[in-house]
């Protein structure tokens, strides 16, 4: 306990404040409960279709590929086509997300669907994002049994399913969704914001895709 008390006491001493100052406590409490938004870029202040268009343009700029399908039942065929086009084995790793289960994977006879977390042996993984952020072409993914975090990072190809209506303009809209899903102040164990496939510029500042995470990110938008 000593280090804790020492650090806090020193912070208070050098700034000439006390820990039991009611006004300071009230300032902090209201900041935490009000969570003021600050400056929101206007670029994503668009109607629904504009948001989807901007999301796709931004995600493409950062190296993601994407496709739009009419319903969840179209997803398995799209996944199969993606794997076939890249000469990948017809196998995917996937969590227990109810929306993905709705997709009826049995329709793809040759596609092997493995469930649960990835152990590093999967070339391709499928996740369902909880939101898309149009402002930067970013996906938001929650950890948990529905979408294990390992699927976001271990497979070489990450295929992410996203509902068109979950594409929001700004990051702040995602915070509203997190609070609605988990409660104020609560978070999933891991919240991953993903913008394009992994990359490194560490050798001569030349950007190369496919560092430690997926080499390719494919987004399937369901209308």
């Amino acid at each position: 306990m000593n280090a804790r008390e020492n650090v806090l006491a020193k912070l208070r001493r050098v700034t000439g404040v006390t820990g039991d100052d009611a006004a300071r406590r009230a300032t902090v409490a209201s900041r935490l409960s009000d969570a003021p938004k600050g400056v929101i870029p206007d670029r994503a202040n668009l109607p629904r279709d504009g948001k989807i268009e901007l999301f796709c343009a931004m995600a493409a700029q950062f190296g993601a590929t994407m496709t739009r399908v009419g319903s969840y039942t179209d997803v398995p065929a799209e996944v199969s086509a993606y794997l076939r086009a890249r000469n990948l084995p017809a196998e995917v790793r996937m969590g227990a997300d109810k929306r993905l289960e709705k997709a009826k994977w049995s329709s793809e006879k040759n596609l092997e669907v493995r469930s649960g977390a990835s152990d590093g042996g999967d070339l391709s993984g499928v996740s369902h994002a909880m939101a898309g952020i149009a402002e930067t072409g970013t996906l938001a993914l929650f950890s948990g049994p529905d979408n294990p975090t390992t699927i976001n990072f271990l497979p070489e190809h990450h295929i992410v399913v996203l509902k068109a209506s979950d594409i929001k303009g700004d990051m702040e809209s995602v915070w509203a969704m997190v609070r609605k899903a988990k409660g104020k102040g609560e978070m999933p164990r891991a919240l991953n914001l993903v913008t394009g496939p992994s990359r490194s510029g560490d050798i001569e500042q030349t950007i190369i895709l496919g560092a430690h995470g997926p080499r390719a990110l494919h987004i399937v938008i369901v209308d």
Partner: protein, 483 residues
């Protein structure tokens, strides 16, 4: 490599004639400056966001004690552990204890400057635990036994041929015939080698870009995905972070995220921004069993309430060094400190004392580019000037500098005498300049003329030239009257 800021001058002289280094340093301007400008220009709200980011950190620093308490309570509520460390030594001991309790043999590491600051790798190695850096740049410099030369591009001082040599030297289990001429081949090889290390590691150590008081989350911002594999696959995740990383809310975090990646690499967002809150939950199929945060002071509290407080706003984007002409010329290692460039020139004396690092705040031309690009609007040149003053006041600067300044100050404080002296000196210097109008050597200015000529004065003082210019304005010429 020994870190010693007092050797800056000797290091810089060596760096200037190091052909490999000079070639590699060309990548700094190419890789960062244009990209940052493009990203900043593409966001009309960028300047407003910088103001707001500054205000958020100022607010957090003014209430740091209370936000730290809130943050700690949220981490505990999520099942995590918070350890407070006053010094680097305390932090090393805490991390080692956690590793020992986990019976750790290897520890994977996400890129983190704070673990460089506390020299964690040496401490773990000395105690029989192998640290494995997983960021490509950090991995390369670990193989070479070096320190990062840049806070976000640790191997920016190297060329690909050097990396190829290191990989051939260390990865002896692979065929000597393999082709490693292209960076992509080097990256693939590192990916393969490190994949096995993540799974074998018992503990994953990362830093944090932010600690969020509202939720008890630690945030890492990366492009490679190594930080996420490090913290997801280890049985224990240890976050080492200094106390000023606190921000109040998720909204505050997104304000600063909007300026971070743009200032660092010119991306709108880095590829992976990950919010981690506590250990694996009962229903979770993956994630670490334990989640620890080591909250480190190590000199930060001593900066609060001083003229160096603004430095605590720093988010370690690296824009200041990317835009620094001194950094471009000598690279990061010459500084001999964990943190190079302008931010290091301010932070290092705060952390290690001005006695040891007096050269660093002097390693600046005061061109002001660092401050003009700093997303947190940190007045870096002003703070370097504070350090120079404090060095002077404490009689630490060299005697030639001190006498020179005193001599100059004598005249500067007596304007009439000053003007008389220069109006006498300028024509004289102009005369000695000869037909070439240049000095190849000059008494007391050998440091300058050793490398370049000094242009000779035109013969008039600035004030004389100015007076003449004003006089011309008063009597409009034919050309002036037409306007």
């Amino acid at each position: 490599m020994e870190l010693a800021a007092k050797h800056f001058k000797a290091n810089a002289s060596r760096a200037l004639i190091d052909v490999q280094l000079q070639k590699a340093l060309g990548n700094v301007e190419k890789g960062f400056i244009g990209k940052r400008k493009k990203a900043a220009d593409a966001l009309p709200e960028f300047e407003q966001l910088r103001d707001n980011a500054r205000d958020i950190k100022d607010h957090a620093l003014a209430h740091l004690d209370l936000y730290l308490e809130e943050y700690e309570a949220r981490v505990k509520a999520a099942g995590g552990h918070v350890h407070w460390a006053e010094t680097a030594e305390d932090a090393r001991r805490i991390v080692l204890d956690i590793c020992r309790k986990a019976n750790a043999r290897t520890v994977t590491k996400g890129k983190s400057m704070i673990t460089e600051e506390i020299a964690l790798n040496d401490h773990l190695s000395a105690n029989g635990i192998e640290p494995v850096e997983t960021d490509l740049g950090e991995y390369i410099i670990q193989l070479r036994g070096e320190h990062p030369s840049h806070i976000i591009a640790p191997a920016v001082h190297l060329n690909k041929e050097q990396v190829e040599g290191d990989f051939r030297r260390v990865h002896t289990h692979l065929s000597q015939e393999r082709d490693l001429t292209e960076p992509v081949a080097l990256l693939s090889e590192a990916r393969e080698v490190l994949r096995q290390r993540y799974f074998a590691a018992d503990v994953g150590v990362t830093g944090a870009n932010f600690l969020i008081a509202e939720t008890g989350s630690s945030v890492i911002v990366t492009n490679e995905g190594n930080g996420d594999l490090t913290q997801t696959l280890g049985k224990v995740h240890v976050v080492v972070a200094s106390i000023e990383k606190i921000v109040p809310t998720l909204e505050d975090t997104s304000q600063i995220l909007r300026v971070l990646a743009r200032s660092a690499t010119g991306q709108d967002m880095s590829v992976y921004t990950t919010f981690s809150t506590g250990p694996r939950r009962p229903e979770d199929p993956d994630g670490p069993d334990e989640y620890h945060v080591v909250l480190l002071d190590n000199g930060r509290s001593s900066m609060l309430g001083t003229e160096y407080q603004d430095m605590l706003r720093c988010i370690r984007c690296g824009a200041c060094m990317n835009h620094c002409p001194v950094y471009h010329a000598v690279g990061g290692h010459a500084y001999g400190s964990v943190y190079p460039g302008p931010m290091g020139a301010v932070l290092t004396p705060s952390l290690n004392g001005i006695d040891e690092s007096g050269h660093l705040p002097n390693a600046s031309t005061f061109c002001g580019r660092c401050e003009s690009v700093c997303p947190m609007r940190i007045p870096l040149p002003k703070m370097m000037r504070h350090w120079r003053e404090s060095e002077f006041e404490r009689n630490l600067s060299p005697s030639t500098t001190r006498y020179g300044l005193k001599f100059w100050a004598f005249f500067a404080k007596r304007p009439k005498l000053y003007r008389m002296a220069v109006s006498f000196g300028m024509p004289l210097l102009s005369l000695f300049g000869g037909p070439s109008r240049r000095f190849k050597s000059l008494p007391l200015a050998g440091g300058w003329t050793r490398y370049r000529d000094l242009p000779a004065p035109e013969g008039r003082t600035f004030l004389q030239a100015w007076a003449q210019r004003e006089a011309l304005k008063q009597e409009p010429s034919a050309e002036g009257a037409e306007k």
